[in-house]
Structures are given as C-alpha cells and as structure tokens.
Symmetry: C2
Subunit: 352 residues, 2 copies
Amino acid sequence: MSKFWSNTTRSITPYVPGEQPGAKKVIKLNTNENPYPPSEKVLSAMKAAVSDRLKLYPDPECTGIRAAASEVFGLPADHIFAGNGSDEILAFCFKAFFNPEEPILFADITYSFYEVYAGLFDIPYRKIPLTDSFDLQTEAYFEPNGGILIANPNAPTSKFTPLEVIREILERNPDKVVVIDEAYVDFGGESSVKLIPDYPNLLVIQTFSKSRSLAGLRLGLAMGQPDLIEGLNRIKNSFNSYTLDAVAQAGGEASLRDGEAFAENVGRVIRTREASVKRLKELGFEVLDSRANFVFASHTTVPASDIFHALRERDIIVRYFSKPRIDNYLRISIGTDEEMAALCGALEEILV
Amino acid sequence: MSKFWSNTTRSITPYVPGEQPGAKKVIKLNTNENPYPPSEKVLSAMKAAVSDRLKLYPDPECTGIRAAASEVFGLPADHIFAGNGSDEILAFCFKAFFNPEEPILFADITYSFYEVYAGLFDIPYRKIPLTDSFDLQTEAYFEPNGGILIANPNAPTSKFTPLEVIREILERNPDKVVVIDEAYVDFGGESSVKLIPDYPNLLVIQTFSKSRSLAGLRLGLAMGQPDLIEGLNRIKNSFNSYTLDAVAQAGGEASLRDGEAFAENVGRVIRTREASVKRLKELGFEVLDSRANFVFASHTTVPASDIFHALRERDIIVRYFSKPRIDNYLRISIGTDEEMAALCGALEEILV
C-alpha cells in the first residue's frame, strides 16, 4: 500500500484475466479465444492500414466500423459506438449511466469484471442469485434499481436467457438502462439488437474477441438508441478521444464486411462444441446447455479442482473458479477438433 | 439531456480535439502531428504482427514495449507502464493518485484535457496562472494540494520549464504525486526521467504521437518508481485488462528500438522550427521560445482570429483558442519545409 495511492486505488480489487501462457506450447482452453484465425480479408485490410498515415491521429468517430456495423445490424450509424474491447465499453457504461445513489443489479454468477467496475467507479450493486439451474431470477429485476447488467449468454455458465425474459425486464425498468453483454451471442444465442427500436433503455454490447477471432485487436461495439450512444461518447471524449487506432479500425471494418468467413468460423466452433458436449457427457460430466464458445461442466464423481490440476500437468489449461456455487465446475473453451480430442483423451486418463 | 444519463454524464464538458479534415487536401498544422512518417522498421514490425496470432489476447503486461523502453530510458521495467496514448494514462492518473478531498494544481494555460478529466472523476482543482511571460509561478505549487500536473514543455505555449524548477516543486511536495506530461519533450526539452531515482513522487508521461510519428497508433508511456506504476496497473486492471492491441505493441517496441530514425526525424522538425520562427518574426510575429513541435505566435498588428480565418480560406489549418489571455495567439504545428513555406507565403499575402 503506497501513500501515493488514491482512496480508490487502495480499495479496489482489480480483475484477474485468465492466464496467458506465453511461448510455452500448451492447449489453451481458458480464455474463450477462437481457435481459428481471423479471415484473410481482415489481415489484408490491416496490413494496408500499416502505412505512413499512422503519423496522423485516427478517426475519433470510427466512421468505417460504424458504417459496416450499421449494415450488419440494420441500425443507423448514430445507434452504434465502437470501443477498445467490450471491457472498455462496459467501463464507460458505469460512468455514463449509473449513479452512486442507487444499486445496480447483476447476477451472483456472471462476468466477474462487473463488480470490479463497480468498485472503480463507486457504484453500489446488488447481486441477484441465479436459480439452482443457473437461470435468471426474473422477478428480482423488477425491484427498484439504478440499472441492470445481464451477460447473455451468461459467463461462465454458458446459458442463454430467452428474449421474452429480456423484454420483460426492459418493460419493467423503463427509466433505467439495461445493458445486455452479448460477448458470446454469435455462438447460438439470439441477439437483443432487434429489440433496440422498441426500448430506449436498452444497450447491447458485443465484442470482436470471440466470434470474430480478434481478441488481439481490442474491439467492441455498443448498440442502442442515440441518447445512450451520445452518453457513451460524452464519457469517451472526457477520457481519451481516440481509443481505437487506425489499424484496428481497418481490421474491424473488414471483419464486419466479411460475413461469409464469420459464419463459417462460428459454425465450426458450434459443431465442435456439440461433439465435445456429447463426449464429455459420456465421460461422466454434467454439461450446462451452452450457447457460447465454451462449456461449463461438472463431473459426477471427481472434483473439478482435481481435474483442473491434472489437466494443467498435461499442459492443458482450462478455467477453474474457486467461488461459492461454481467451485465444482470447469469452464472449457471450445478449441479445434484436435484440441478437444486431446482434452478428452487426457480426461479419459485422469478419470479412470 | 437524456433521462438515462448519470450525474457525471450530465455535468461533464468533453474535450474537443483539433479538427481532422478527412479526405480534403489541406495543409494540416493544427494537431501537432509529425509531418514525417514512422520508420520502415516500425511499419515492418507491425505488418509482421498482423497474423493469425490476433485470435489470442495480447500481452496485458506489454512486456516488449516495456523492455525496449527500459533500455532507452535506463530504468528497470517495473518503472514503466504502457497505455493507449498519454491521454489514457493521464485519465488513469486522476483515478490512481488524486482524491475528491483536495484540489490538484495545474496552470491556467495548459493542456485543456486536464480539467476534463477532473470533471469526469470529480477531482477538484485550482488553476495557477502562468506569469505574464507564460512561465510557471513556482511558489504557488508549494501551497497545500492534492497533486500536481505540469506539461513540460507546456502546450499551447511551447515553453519549457527548467528541471531545477521541477526539482523544487518535487521537493516541496514529498507526499503528493507530481505528474510531468512530456508529450513534446523530445523536441528540445530536457526530460525529468533522470529525476525518477531521486523522487518517489514523480511520474513522467510521454507519448508516441509526436516525436515518434505514431499518432495513429495510440501509445504512451508512464515512468516512475514501482509504487506509482503499481497504482496505474491497479486502475488499468479494474478498467480494461488489455488496452494495447498486439499490433500496436509490436510497433511501439520497434519504434523504441529504432533510435536512429527517431533522432533524425526529431532533428528535422527542430531545424524546420528554427527556420520557421525566424521567418515568422520577419513577418511581424512575436514567437514564444519553443521546445516543442509547434510554435505559439502573436502578430504585432493583425488579430490572431483574423489570421486564423484567412489561413482557413487558403486550406491551411492552424489552431486558435478563443480563451482569455491567449486569444491573440495562434498555435502552429511544425510541418515539412514545404508546408511551412506555403504557410509563410500565405501569411505574406494575408498580412499586407
């Protein structure tokens, strides 16, 4: 603890991202990255942007990405905000829409960064327990609140909340911003983007890190009615006018314009997931119904932490959370077919 | 004003960056960009980083950039923080080191983003007027305060504060963080980095946007003793674990390792500046002593706003601030010799 730290710096508990193993050759199924590379069109567009023009500031409005997103999502460009990963956009949301007077609501088991943001920006929160089957307790979100955050599909559970439920929550909270964090939606969920015209209180956030194979590039989108987008812009322009560099903007636009590669990539991950779920069940796992690029699984007889460590010894990294209610689960990212075969082979050895 | 906006969103006045004219062919001397492109080595390193590896998250520790900076600045890597432009690092400083109870101090005429951050993070501040010659009023920084921010060289004045003054301010504020914002230091100032071993309260911030011709890439560094760097990391890891993408990290490291191109580029800008200052004085301007890649000039007879508009009509963009004390000055970025010749030619026409 340093005497130079602010009260905030002293009190916060920073987020700890999943391990990045560096150069060591491992099977990395711990941070929900996509096992397939970004498309050639994305890489070409980025290389073309690596040019003398880097001496100039990038476009602070991210016009190219927003125009491409406008076509993909069928929304006007003034409904779209681009940021440095969905994490940055989530941070901006806390500052843009939530106040210190009223607790915001999110699930007890969800993306653990939400409470980190709350600590950073001094926003009170109430955690709403998921049901025993890890579903949202819908009625709890009808209580007075300062805003709502829902990851859909949820992480680390992988479960999807149907849009009827989202719609009900939106209707019961007409004066509060409801943020739907759709980091994983492309892997079989249904996006709330289609609800945007009906609900001025809805903000949908997506990322390029998972379904678009661009975790290394730091790109996210927020979509909502112009009021909300303007709120995000006011915060961004009070923080850092240019959070997306010129090369990332080029890559993001190219990714949005390459729908074919996107669909193929997502389809492959889904097929591998379904095959992996089947195999894991044969190995004695209970696996939650996943609409994400990972599965959340618990073994009927062997503790998750034992399996986690045994996999680690075999250079296979999955994610284990030593937290109440989920400390007997493993979160396993969907890799290539070969990686999943190696995982299942290792599990066969471990579980004998 | 939207009902969905937080108190902060309602109250802030976002920063307005200098105009980016888009495709139109203009002589752009308004945002202090470098007129010369980044070195070939930087562009090659970036192109090499545009690869399949973008599917993976980037290194959250920015190890490569920090190792290279360690060599350039002669500091251990734990004294170095890399961020998404110096703007992001400055924002983190407000959260990391300043509290709402005590006003921080900065000059009345300085980088106008400082008061924007203060508004965003609810940090009170007191503006210390520069003297009539636009120098720091040193003694005013000995008064009780919650922290100090000094741009050195200052913007938009271009003037440099000698390190003896910085040292005195550091010594009189042993319990407060003193941030020296050295965005322009490479163009003839002297860096406070050498004071870091002596002063645990000193944080020095630099950017790749000016002297390294990488405004389009969004890279900045903070340097200080490990306590301060850890404070910044705590804030960053509560905001966005990965603010620098893999390609930007590669470009930043290559730039730091290409000292030759850097020195040559900076030398060219300085030579053009000195020639431009001479010419501007011949044209009847008073020009402050610049250690930056821009000059701050006032004409003895013609109002700055008239000159600004007349240049604008000739597609030459400089920066004019309609603010007390400096509303008769123009801030002119140093372009190429050709651009400066065009500027001076236009001024000859305007000033007849």
